[in-house]
Symmetry: C2
Subunit: 323 residues, 2 copies
């Protein structure tokens, strides 16, 4: 049995707890949190204060780090990797090289293994970009996200004065996807690829038109997109817009000779973004422990790990049943 | 530069020749054939008789074996692997474990690397089955093929008395695919998943109805499917049905908690099946040479190879640009 610790218990941590119940070769040692453990309502797991983690090096094979990329993981992953094998979902794309380098050093100095930046993007989408570009070098790769909730964009709306709560959906332009799949070559702007749809609850007497204008003209978040804003009641928001669906498509269109078109498409359609991301983390936790057993210490990304390491099934059986 | 030899020059070998022209880090040493080399019309490559291959061990980093799975590869891959790193597309699913074992022995005894059973199925589809099942263990995997030409089924029709030529298309049931993606759980028979459409040219005066009956009732090939037969002229067949499109979908539907549905879809839409397969072989030829440089001798399948080995791009750049 692979003994797993969950470090940080929000939506992602809860997703890992659920995923572990589906994996017969893994068992959950406990949830480690900065909050008072008695106030953490897990789905059966024991909760411990984070300070206790360091006393459990012999009971834990791998820590799945479920904190955020903004402030938690840049510090936590290198630190925890000094004592444990780790897996994280660090997703600040621009800072991945720096994060990798720090974690790699911690892992090599302490003879541990860390798999960073797993999940679906970065993660499975990165894998698919790499496979597609390696196989069809004469081609173009397009990534579309959605339909799904963007927490960052929802938060940006919530920071506007007069806004009580909000949910923002990123919606891919399916007409553009179909045209690309049909082999058209398109020069695409940001506006062409995605739409944004916002469901917003405002305070009584708030100036809705001013808020709408502030949303759709917000630089980086909305100004470059076609954005639709709906004002709804808090009841409606809670009833209809508190799920966390997401997904997306990596599309690669290439030619192998003259006009011979070849299209590779990878699409995820997820009812729950955090539960799916958690399931990816759990599969890579298995890979992480195997690499540590082979003493291949250091930091890894999904690009560095042979697919078979993710599976609990023996190599011979995989060859017989999946090839 | 990675120096590549093509062994066997049919549609697949020609596809490899074309693919190599798109890969700047690879160069083609030549095509090796059992035919008289002067009768082999390549697209620029030098042609040699197969007997000359053994004299070129110093000039070749990897041989891409482009023979057939029925009789060529079971003998050729273990033999050539005694002297060279090799890549093949052996696709007789039931015999892959035996083939792997023979090739692995040849590779380990002679300090070479062989990547067997690459292409898209087995190959990229196998990869996607493995990733999906490892991430969503509580789920079902479905593989659909087509729309595309099945050479085996086309050949089976050609063997019927009175038939001059034929092309058979395998067509996936797109309604079933949509229902599965929507989360329905279906018990599927062979007949539910695919249709077969045949374009057949017959001799003057042949009994079309008897031929139609013989086709649709043919065991293993057609009896278990809904099959449509069209009789057309040889001119029409040559004009409209001599391309080799193919493709298919690996669909995995799972749940992460109660009714939380998660769908992973991988779809290929290929204008040319042999050229796409060839492009996969070429990417794995690069992986093969790297593994040999690292002295990791033995046989591999796509399941055993870290994705980064397929790419000519440096690891740091991949992390920066693709993650």
């Amino acid at each position: 049995m692979i003994k797993v610790a969950i470090v940080g218990y929000g939506n992602l941590g809860r997703g890992v707890e659920r995923s572990l119940k589906q994996n017969q070769d893994m068992e959950l040692v406990g949830v480690f949190t900065r909050r008072a453990p008695e106030n953490v309502a897990t789905e059966g797991a024991k909760a411990y204060h984070m300070d206790e983690l360091k006393n459990k090096t012999k009971e834990i094979d791998v820590c799945i780090l479920c904190g955020g990329s903004a402030t938690d993981l840049p510090v936590q992953t290198p630190e925890v990797t000094q004592h444990f094998n780790t897996v994280d979902s660090f997703d600040t794309h621009a800072k991945i090289p720096e994060h990798f380098s720090k974690v790699d050093q911690a892992a090599k100095e302490n003879q541990t293994v860390s798999v960073i930046s797993t999940g679906w993007d970065p993660g499975l989408f990165s894998l698919n970009r790499l496979y597609a570009q390696s196989i069809l070098p004469q081609g173009e790769t397009y990534t579309f996200w959605g339909k799904g909730v963007s927490q960052g964009h929802s938060d940006a709306i919530r920071r506007i004065a007069g806004v009580v709560d909000a949910t923002q959906y990123t919606i891919p332009n399916s007409e553009i996807i179909e045209r690309l799949k049909a082999g058209e070559k398109l020069e695409l702007t940001t506006r062409d690829k995605h739409f944004r749809e916002c469901f917003v609850v405002v305070e009584d007497g708030a100036d809705k038109e001013a808020i709408r204008t502030e949303i759709i003209s917000m630089p980086n978040y909305f100004a470059d997109y076609d954005t639709e804003v709906h004002f709804i009641s808090l009841e409606e928001l809670i009833r209809d817009h508190k799920a966390m669906p997401h997904g997306g498509t990596v599309l690669h269109t290439g030619t192998t000779h003259e006009q011979t078109k070849q299209v590779i498409e990878y699409t995820l359609q997820l009812d729950s973004n955090p539960e799916f991301t958690a399931s990816v983390l759990v599969a890579y936790a298995r890979a992480c422990v195997r690499l540590a057993q082979e003493k291949q210490f250091g930091a890894y990304t999904v690009l560095d790990i042979a697919p078979k390491y993710l599976s609990p099934v023996a190599d011979e059986t995989l060859r017989k049943e999946l090839l």
